[in-house]
């Protein structure tokens, strides 16, 4: 996308806005010079870039309320940004709006051991919560691979998951309360001090709402006792399909792993080169399976898992010898995206989720597409949840490759929908998957989404144009998309 050229009109508008905000914000909370704005032009999906009119960096709740009230009365679009690690262009600025950056809200307000929860500001990094809770034997369970950087506000807005959410749940399962500021500047408390709140479950509704309904200004999250023991096993397979079938076999065997992740050859070799995790680089795919609990339970589960993996045709099974080796197994997995980033100028990360039983078939189909598009694709994903992360490798400097990568990605998502899954498991729709929403949802559902948004944000100023496509856009997209009445993937059995 080209940068908007700084027309004189735009410069004047920027200056006028900055003046208006300086009435109630300190000077260091307003960025308006173009070079100051550039670091904020994109989130973790750099294919989409745009400069906002202004970047605002408030530090108090009252300032955020004042900003929102002003934007609402003046009809100025507002895009929230946490740490900017999002992978769907959710925090992509609006060219006629302000970018509301929450990074200065970085305080842990309370670690409440008796009630086993932490009250934090939205800019607090995910990992910082577990670090602060560790002296009490507690931790915050959802652990996105970006956890050293991403903010809890962004986690709430995306309903982030992690490698341990098969057993411990997503963000939505680990929240007790959220304070939300509406576009009208009202401060709402969602959820409760106990395990539920009065009225509708707006805590669930707001989780994963991508900054479209309000600004998360505080979150109270559950803390869990650190398991007595955790143990990981690495299993190698000589085909991706066998590895995929092993996932179903483990679950059918009554194992509920704390984490169950899969990496294919391309991904595991990249990770191995990057962090030297000790992965078997000749394997077509590996599974990482972690069990945790009391020592006796762990031993029992582990031997069961080993047996099930062997039955599923694993060519090698390696139990981490000590905690350091277990950490290394995970370090490779958590570094997989940047590792793939080292072997290709650019990569494009998809996030569809499918029923586990379709894993082998869908991975096969993706390999076929990869051939057809002539673009490599690495797979590293949350196998236990059926949440795929195909990483499409491309070079943005080669004309046409980005478009090809996007088309490849779009087809993967449509395949996910066709087998009964969804276009996004944890990264959100954002800017990126807006067209695929038309594939997943009929008009009535889309209309309902818009109506729900309007109930919170009647003027449509929070993150406009993201997450939910207009019906007109879908009509256009669907008309272009169904060629001569033929659906994509005619050979795939429909859900």
């Amino acid at each position: 996308m080209p940068h908007s050229s700084p027309s004189s009109q735009r410069v004047a508008r920027r200056a006028g806005l900055a003046r208006a905000f300086s009435e109630f914000l300190p000077p260091d909370a307003i960025l308006s010079r173009e070079e100051e704005l550039h670091p904020y032009e994109c989130d973790g999906l750099p294919a989409y870039r745009r400069l906002p009119l202004l970047v605002l960096l408030p530090t108090t709740v009252e300032e955020v309320q004042a900003i929102l009230r002003h934007c609402n009365t003046q009809h100025i679009p507002v895009v929230a940004r946490g740490a900017g690690t999002g992978l769907s262009g959710g925090a992509l600025p609006h060219e006629d709006g302000v970018l509301l950056v929450l990074s200065r809200f970085n305080r842990i307000l309370d670690i409440d051991v008796a009630n086993r929860c932490a009250r934090v500001q939205p800019g607090v990094r995910n990992l910082a919560i577990s670090e602060a809770a560790a002296p009490h034997g507690l931790y915050y369970a959802p652990d996105p691979s970006s956890q050293i950087a991403c903010s809890i506000g962004g986690n709430v807005a995306e309903n982030a998951g992690g490698v341990h959410c098969l057993k411990y749940g997503l963000t939505v399962h680990n929240l007790l309360q959220v304070r939300l500021i509406t576009i009208e500047g009202e401060l709402l408390t969602l959820g409760g001090g106990g395990l539920d709140g009065p009225g509708y479950d707006l805590l669930a509704l707001v989780t994963g709402s991508e900054g479209m309904l309000g600004i998360v200004i505080e979150a109270t999250v559950k803390l869990l006792p650190i398991a007595e023991q955790a143990q990981a096993v690495l299993a190698a397979f000589d085909s991706v399909e066998t590895a995929a079938d092993a996932v179903a076999h483990l679950i059918a065997g009554g194992i509920l792993p704390a984490g169950l992740e899969m990496m294919d050859n391309l991904a595991l070799r990249a990770a191995e080169d990057f962090v030297h995790a000790g992965y078997p680089t000749d394997a077509a795919a590996i599974l990482l399976c972690e069990v945790d609990g009391h020592a006796d339970e762990v031993t029992a589960q582990l031997s069961r898992a080993e047996r099930l993996l062997k039955e599923s045709g694993a060519t090698e099974i390696r139990v981490a010898r000590d905690d350091a080796e277990r950490q290394r197994f995970w370090a490779g997995r958590k570094a997989a995206f940047p590792a793939v980033g080292r072997i290709s100028p650019d990569y494009y990360c998809m996030d569809g989720t499918i029923p586990r039983k379709r894993l082998a078939e869908v991975l096969h189909e993706i390999a076929v597409m990869s051939e057809r598009f002539g673009l490599r694709c690495a797979n590293v994903f949350h196998a236990g949840d059926g949440n795929l992360h195909p990483l499409i490798l491309y070079d943005a400097n080669v004309p046409g490759e980005l478009e090809k990568a996007e088309q490849f990605g779009g087809e993967i998502l449509e395949l996910c929908v066709a087998v009964g899954g969804t276009i996004t498991g944890e990264h959100g729709v954002g800017t990126e998957k807006i067209d695929q929403m038309c594939v997943q949802f009929p008009d009535a559902e889309l209309e309902t989404f818009h109506a729900v948004k309007a109930a919170f944000d009647p003027n449509g100023l929070l993150n406009p144009g993201k997450a939910v496509p207009t019906l007109a856009r879908c009509a256009e997209f669907n008309a272009m998309h169904v060629h001569q009445g033929e659906l994509p993937f005619p050979e795939i059995e429909r859900f």
């Binding site: 749940g169 009225g199 707006l202 994963g208 029923p355 586990r356």
Partner: protein, 353 residues
């Protein structure tokens, strides 16, 4: 399974369309086991009890999709055959409870702090809104952030935002074994004990205090239970399953009292409130209180503790039953209700007037 599939979507739809055009309210009725819950029902019954059937159940996917009128007992039996459970262990009360009612009421059994509520297990729904439109939100996969989470919004909404047609739920492998430790403690000591256990990785599946005794339920085998007993104390109960079922379904002798029954949802470590006969559940986070205090007093008390209160049984069904909402929240509730049910026909006034 197909021969037991009874799809009444069309009939239900017709009734809603008619009610909406006349502006006349409908009382959504499943098995009737929770008819006592909420404000007094209004209008003609919309019977869901015949809309039954297990649409899809695949044990390796850990997902079941069922029509909302399906009895809980039937679902639980089908799951038990594959050694799986509904994680939220919904109350059955006097019997006849349906899965739709369980999700709509959002109530969960004693393992709630560790295994979650209906909203936590809910993956997707098909609903009829107040205009009689069928819509589908969420799905049958574990992770899904496409669109707002309207499926979870339905859990606990008491049917006021839509009639649940079918629900997809995450299921779990059944825990192997349960053992309960019982110890004589007063309420304050029990709360302290439960709080102290918080930071230890005890495999808890229940923690309740009633009639001078703390009951701790462990989900583990006998050997591990013995290990934990040495660390935490108490005697092994001989009626593990019976006690927790009685607590879940309110059939313990404690529940046989005349005063109105209140449910308090509080931060678990909140000190005991001396306002009436109290049973502490969920490790302190849910408290059942028989009291003649006024609703205003109960709401003030809950707010002061950072929680909320519900008049669960007894008392005035024309008045408020649920904690009143602050003004902007109440306004938002009204707007959301309008989105899903503009003519206000579905369970009119059941949640808030």
């Amino acid at each position: 399974m197909a021969e037991h599939d009874h799809d009444h979507t069309e009939t239900l739809k017709e009734q809603i369309v008619r009610a909406a055009s006349e502006g006349s309210p409908l009382e959504i009725r499943g098995g009737g086991s929770k008819q006592f819950y909420g404000r007094a029902p209004l209008g003609d019954p919309l019977e869901i009890g015949d809309h039954t059937g297990i649409i899809q159940y695949e044990p390796t996917e850990l997902v079941v999709t069922v029509r909302s009128g399906t009895p809980l007992t039937q679902i639980e039996q089908v799951l038990a055959e594959r050694r799986q459970i509904l994680p939220f262990d919904p109350p059955h009360f006097q019997g006849g409870a349906t899965i739709g009612g369980a999700v709509a009421c959002g109530l969960a059994g004693p393992a709630r702090p560790w295994s979650g509520a209906p909203r936590d297990a809910l993956l997707g729904v098909r609903i009829l809104d107040g205009r009689g439109r069928t819509m589908r939100f969420g799905g049958e996969v574990m992770k899904n952030v496409a669109g707002y989470d309207i499926a979870r919004l339905m859990a606990g909404a008491l049917g006021t935002l839509g009639v649940l047609l079918d629900v997809s739920l995450k299921v779990l492998p059944a825990p192997g074994d349960h053992h309960t430790l019982v110890m004589d403690l007063d309420a304050r000591q029990a709360l302290e004990h439960m709080t102290a256990l918080n930071t230890q990785p005890v495999p808890l599946a229940g923690a309740a205090h009633v009639d001078g005794q703390l009951h701790l339920r462990l989900a583990c085998d006998a050997a591990l239970a013995a290990h934990w007993r040495r660390r935490i104390g108490g005697e092994l109960s001989t009626d593990d399953a019976g006690f927790w079922r009685g607590l879940r379904d309110h059939t313990l002798p404690f529940f046989d009292q005349d005063a109105p029954l209140w449910r308090l949802s509080l931060p678990p470590a909140s000190p005991p409130q001396n306002i009436g006969k109290t049973l502490i559940d969920w490790g302190g986070a849910q408290r059942w209180v028989f009291t003649e205090e006024t609703p205003e007093q109960m709401w003030a008390l809950a707010t002061a503790s950072g929680g909320h209160a519900t008049l669960f049984r007894g008392g005035n069904r024309q008045g408020g039953r649920f904690q009143p909402l602050p003004r902007p929240m109440a306004a938002l509730h009204t707007r959301l209700k309008k989105v899903f049910d503009p003519e206000n026909v579905l369970n009119r006034g059941r949640l808030y007037p």
